[in-house]
């Protein structure tokens, strides 16, 4: 005991993500993202869940993060549910040209009452399918020729404790929220310098 303590309002996570299947993968860069999400809910949820897909434009800085889409999911009675979350491909204009090709990250987050309780990260490898282009990539990326390959077998899941009964304000009050931090970051995450990959429990890139 005594190793981690929570406020009285914290209860067990009501939603457990059981599986995320990456559909249409690999696919051309311009195709929409499709994730089939299966989750289980312990009891009826009075409010909707909010899911987001965030595309990390550049590992260097969060300012290139794009929220591809956010969607409300509800009503959610107790039980096991699934849905497909489809979101358009990222706006190429917002991606630094140097980061267009190579490895980046796509994040799926879910919030309840404004509090993020799960963050699922996937490594994404964008590369030209044409060997010629691969050898000699154009300076200005040709997105039509890029293939997106999500490393579906290796999701990185981070779960956060939230107050399922109350609203976000109380958690926002907690000490470790940096007002300057990106709003995408959950309150309990280290704000600031940590690159998006740092969110993942262990960023072993060696698996790529």
């Amino acid at each position: 005991m005594c190793l981690s303590r929570f406020s009285a309002s914290v209860t067990m996570a009501k939603v457990q993500v059981l599986n995320v299947a990456v559909l249409d993968n690999p696919s051309p860069f311009g195709n929409p993202f499709q994730f089939e999400i299966t989750f289980e809910c312990m009891e009826d949820l009075p409010e909707d869940l909010e899911w987001k897909i965030i595309y990390v434009g550049s590992a260097e800085s969060e300012e290139y993060d794009q929220t591809l889409d956010s969607v409300l999911v509800g009503p959610v009675p107790a039980g096991r549910h699934m849905f497909v979350f489809q979101a358009d491909a990222p706006n190429t204009g917002l991606i630094p040209e140097s980061d267009a090709v190579g490895v980046t990250v796509v994040l799926i987050t879910c919030t309840y009452r404004g509090q993020e309780f799960i963050r699922i990260g996937y490594y994404v490898n964008n590369e030209y399918t044409d060997p010629e282009l691969r050898e000699n990539p154009p300076i200005k990326p040709d997105y039509t020729q890029l293939q997106r390959n999500i490393l579906a077998s290796n999701p990185r899941v981070t779960r956060f404790h939230i107050n399922w009964e109350g609203c976000a304000e109380r958690m926002e009050d907690s000490e470790n929220v940096d007002p300057a931090s990106n709003s995408m970051l959950p309150p309990s995450c280290l704000p600031g310098k940590a690159p998006p990959l740092g969110l993942l429990p262990d960023n072993s890139m060696d698996c790529l």
Binding site: L3, V17, C41, S70, V73, P77, G79, F85, I120, P201
Partner: protein, 974 residues
């Protein structure tokens, strides 16, 4: 002693706070800190026990991990039956886990370890009540209760048969409660807290039995846990951290007077955990040594903050063994295997250690029988049933037949743990598929197209997720702990259920009939038209009956009369009833007269159908008949109508063959006397006969038709219309008339009962007075019936039912609705687990089919087990005796099986043996024996053959099983 530290048992280096070995010894659970949550893990025991299994890659080490606890898990405990795991943690929650077998991911999604969960355990219930960290949980003997204690200073007792119901909250500690232990015989629960006290609570009333403070007065509150333990013989309670002369000890508290004279001394720091070996030992007999009987002793392991473990035998003054530096940090929990030879210890440093003792070191463990004998000697028989099935599982099965039944029982235990359990799947908390037969694959293919997507008012996308399975949260029915409860009567067609409820209203109607409310009708203006009260919709049988009974129904038969004559009759009737005995009205259970009035009043003069006279059209009758027929319920629709002059009654007597009876009074006048006609239609063939007086009541069965007339004559005809008996003269007017098979029962207004066997032309009951059973001024007859075997049964308004036993020539009580035994008896676990035919018969009718096995049993869960056991036993024996006296063979067999199952479950060997002996009878023929080979037409040895599989389910009765199986075999070959 061997010592092993299986390095693979770890929570990734995080502390392990608790360890518990499954009762079957094949796995164990650990609880502690996870990555960012509490963690419960289930491990395979085999790789701990055997090196070759540890090396075998194909044998999984980790079976399941659960991250559901939000914060550190302080305690994990298996239920005694091994079906459930309870865990308590810093998140203030107690979770109860159950093995699941539904489709699902075999890994925790996104888990960094790619280790698959070999077993799926899921949380079936979350117990919320504590307002602080839960420190310890404990299942009571027999898994009746689950106790949890917390830093909120309370102990909560949960009803383990009905989670999440709370039985009580024990308040009294003024500090963090850090340990719990149940008395092995279930009489007490003890708790130890930081408030320098150890408290013992009674389970009888949940009050404090004793409060022990002296040995703890010097203690500081720095121990993480204070896991105390009760010895398996129940005689000693050993505390965790106590102080004696400034030294840390484990205090021994004697059950006798709660004396605190002894302690275990030697640890350098506070004792965190004490755990008794579940076995009682006796000294190993040395070869050639004197067989001097030695005193049995217990064995106890003590773990401390000083990182060392000591193991003590209560027969030795010094510890058997002390192991220092086993861990880097404090010992947190200890668990013994049920064999008593192995021990798992876990530590704050995140490791576990396994110690393996030999019999030479500990001694000879007593078997369950010997342990029971000790318990019986100390606590008496009733409290001593402590051996669990799991403990028995170590017994060697000697008989191949026995093995079969044991396996069947295990399969049943797995299958039967869910209502309607079919196969292994049902052990899972049910996820009710809502996919309408579509496969998950089909759904997934089209999910994107199919899912409903809308836009919210502010233009946001909103997806309605597709529900692929509903969570059955009502999983924790008592059925899970016992077998499937099939309540008597549950297989009755639902159509008949409402009729049961009319039972009470009938009683009301009867009493109503005695009130002066008669007058309302008498003075009410005559109804102008003639009334026909019959309508198909009004015919509803009053009792759920099967073919064996003739019973009157609430049906208002085709009564046609003109209003004035009704009034006249009413007056006549009033006069007759006033000059007959007072009791007449009381036992006049028919009261069709009153009822008809009630109908009249209810209808408010509304004329259902105007008809001058005569029988209702056939099509009117057809409706209820066909209904009955489709339900395949053989309804002997009533009979028993008090008829007035000019009244025609049309009744169906039997469905199969279909027999209709029609009575018409005053058909013609011959030589000044009025004649009545009795017409009977049987399978389309009709016969009729004339009677010299008005018919008052008629009844029939498939064999006989009986008619009572106004002149107090009773006539009996065969089903083809032959007069079977000369008219019988009754002393007083007929009150109730029943026919069943070839028996006729007459209940007269003079409160006298007669039953005749028409076939043999003898009287079974001779004008017997009901006054014996009708004590009390307000008692009335609320129900009467005649069984197929000719046993008359009388139900009284007091809720008691009697039958007249003609061989004993006495009234015998067969049912009492107010009997507390009925309400407290809990034999749910002994009910047939499959869809066996439920009890139906006279006993069920008289007791009401809503007889609910242990309806109050759960409410009385605080009743000590032995009390409830005795009540159940008494109840079941009553049922058997009642079925016997009612000559109801089917019910006798039904209750006999339940009774046997109960005896087997409860381990009542003497009764079981006597029962078997009686059923088997003498193996060798001898003239002197009075043993009857049959009872109620059932062959006793056949019954015994049916009982053997039941007996075979309890390993303890192995000898008994073999003995009787062999004798039966012997007899069969003769």
């Amino acid at each position: 002693m061997k010592l092993l530290k299986p390095s693979w048992v770890s929570h990734n280096g995080k502390p392990i706070f608790s360890v518990d070995i499954h009762p079957d010894g094949t796995k164990f659970a650990t609880g502690g800190q996870g990555e960012d949550s509490g963690k419960v893990m289930i491990w395979n025991m085999a790789p701990v026990l055997r090196e070759e299994d540890e090396k075998n890659e194909n044998i999984p080490k980790m079976l399941c991990q659960m991250d559901n606890h939000l914060a550190c898990v302080n305690c994990v405990r298996w239920s005694n039956n091994g079906l459930y795991l309870a865990s308590g943690g810093d998140d203030k929650l107690v979770m109860v886990w159950k093995r699941a077998a539904f489709i699902g991911p075999s890994t925790v999604f996104g888990s960094s370890s790619k280790l698959a969960n070999v077993e799926q355990w899921r949380c079936v219930t979350i117990l919320r009540n504590h307002t602080g960290d839960v420190m310890d949980v404990a299942w009571s003997p027999h898994d009746v209760w689950l106790a949890s204690c917390s830093v909120d200073n309370t102990i909560v007792i949960w009803n383990a048969r009905k989670f999440p119901e709370m039985v009580t909250c024990l308040r009294g500690h003024t500090g963090l409660v850090k340990g719990l232990t149940w008395d092995p015989v279930g009489k007490y629960i003890a708790s130890q807290a930081d408030d320098h006290s150890l408290k013992v609570w009674r389970t009888m009333d949940w009050q404090l039995e004793t409060n022990i403070t002296k040995p703890f007065s010097e203690c500081g509150g720095t121990t993480h846990v204070l896991r105390l333990s009760w010895s398996p013989d129940g005689q000693y309670l050993v505390s965790a951290h106590a102080m004696n002369n400034s030294g840390p000890t484990a205090q021994i508290v004697e059950r006798d007077g709660w004396k605190t004279n002894m302690d275990f001394v030697g640890h350098r720091k506070a004792v965190t955990v004490v755990k008794f070996n579940p076995k009682i030992f006796k000294k190993k007999q040395k070869n050639g040594g004197s067989p001097k009987p030695s005193c049995p002793y217990c064995c106890c392991a003590v773990g401390s903050k000083d990182r060392s473990l000591s193991v003590w035998l209560t027969s030795l003054k010094r510890p058997l063994v002390v192991i220092h530096d086993l861990f880097d940090k404090s010992i947190m929990d200890i668990s013994w295997t049920l064999t008593g030879l192995g021990i798992l210890v876990c530590s704050m440093d995140g490791t576990v250690a396994y110690l393996d003792f030999s019999l030479d070191e500990l001694g000879d463990p007593l078997n369950e029988e010997e342990k029971n004998t000790i318990h019986q000697n100390i606590y008496g028989k009733s409290l001593a049933i402590t051996s669990t099935e799991a403990q028995l599982s170590t017994t060697i099965i000697e008989n191949p037949e026995m093995l079969k039944y044991q396996q069947e029982r295990q399969n049943a235990a797995q299958a039967g743990s869910g209502p309607g359990g079919a196969g292994l799947e049902s052990t899972a908390p049910k996820l009710n598929s809502v996919m309408n037969g579509e496969s998950l694959e089909d759904i997934r293919k089209n999910l994107l197209k199919k899912q409903v997507e809308t836009r919210t008012a502010d233009g946001r996308r909103r997806i309605t997720p597709l529900c692929i399975a509903q969570l059955d949260t009502g999983d924790f029915s008592p059925a899970l702990f016992n077998s499937v409860p099939i309540l008597p009567g549950s297989s009755m067609p639902s159509q008949l259920t409402p009729q049961l409820s009319s039972d009470s209203s009938q009683g009301q109607a009867s009493s109503l009939g005695l009130r002066p409310s008669h007058d309302t009708l008498l003075t009410s203006p005559p109804v102008k038209q003639s009334l026909l009260l019959t309508s198909a919709s009004k015919i509803e049988p009053m009792k759920a009956l099967d073919s064996r009974f003739t019973e009157r129904s609430k049906a208002t038969p085709g009564v046609t009369a003109d209003g004035s004559s009704i009034l006249k009759d009413v007056k006549n009737k009033e006069e007759t009833s006033s000059d007959s005995e007072d009791k007449m009205a009381a036992i006049n259970k028919n009261l069709s007269f009153t009822k008809r009035k009630a109908d009249l009043l209810m209808d408010g003069g509304e004329v259902v159908e105007k008809r001058k006279k005569g029988r209702p059209r056939k099509d009117k009758m057809a409706t209820p008949i066909s209904q009955c027929y489709t339900n395949k319920v053989l309804l002997l629709l009533l009979l028993n109508y008090k008829l007035k002059d000019c009244v025609c009654v049309f009744v169906q007597v039997s469905m199969e063959p279909s027999v209709f009876l029609e009575v018409e009074n005053d058909v013609s006048v011959v030589a000044g006397s009025k004649l009545s006609q009795l017409r009977c239609s049987r399978d389309g063939r009709e016969w009729d006969t004339l009677l010299p007086s008005s018919v008052v009541t008629a009844a029939g069965s498939s064999d006989v038709i009986a008619v009572a007339c106004e002149d107090r004559m009773l006539s009996v005809f065969s089903s083809c219309g032959r007069r079977l008996l000369p008219a019988i003269q009754l002393a007083t007017p007929m009150s109730a008339l029943h026919c069943s098979s070839h028996f006729v029962m007459a209940l007269t207004a003079g409160a006298r009962l007669s039953v005749w066997d028409v076939q043999k032309q003898t009287a079974l009951v001779k004008n017997e007075s009901l006054l014996t059973i009708m004590s009390g001024a307000d008692t009335t007859v609320s129900q009467s019936l005649l069984t197929q075997q000719g046993v008359p049964v009388i139900g009284l308004s007091s809720g008691k039912s009697y039958c007249f036993n003609s061989s004993l020539e006495t009234w015998t009580l067969i049912a009492d609705k107010g009997d507390s035994l009925v309400q407290c008896a809990d034999f749910r676990s002994c009910l047939p687990s499959h869809d066996a035919p439920v009890s139906s018969g006279p006993l069920a009718v008289m007791q009401g089919r809503n007889l609910n096995a242990g309806r109050l049993a759960s409410r009385l869960s605080s009743t000590p087990h032995h009390l409830q056991q005795s009540m159940t036993l008494a109840f079941l024996e009553n049922q058997l005796a009642a079925a016997l006296t009612l000559l109801s063979a089917q019910e006798y067999r039904y209750w006999l099986l339940i009774y046997a199952r109960f005896l087997v479950n409860e381990g009542s060997e003497y009764r079981l043996r006597e029962l078997c002996k009686e059923l088997l009878g003498p193996v060798h023929k001898s003239a002197a024996t009075a043993w009857e080979p049959t009872t109620l037409g059932l062959r006793k040895r056949e019954l015994l053959r049916e009982l053997l599989p039941v007996i075979g389910q309890n390993l303890r009765f192995q000898r008994l099983f073999t003995e009787y199986q062999e004798q039966l075999e012997l007899l069969r070959n003769k």
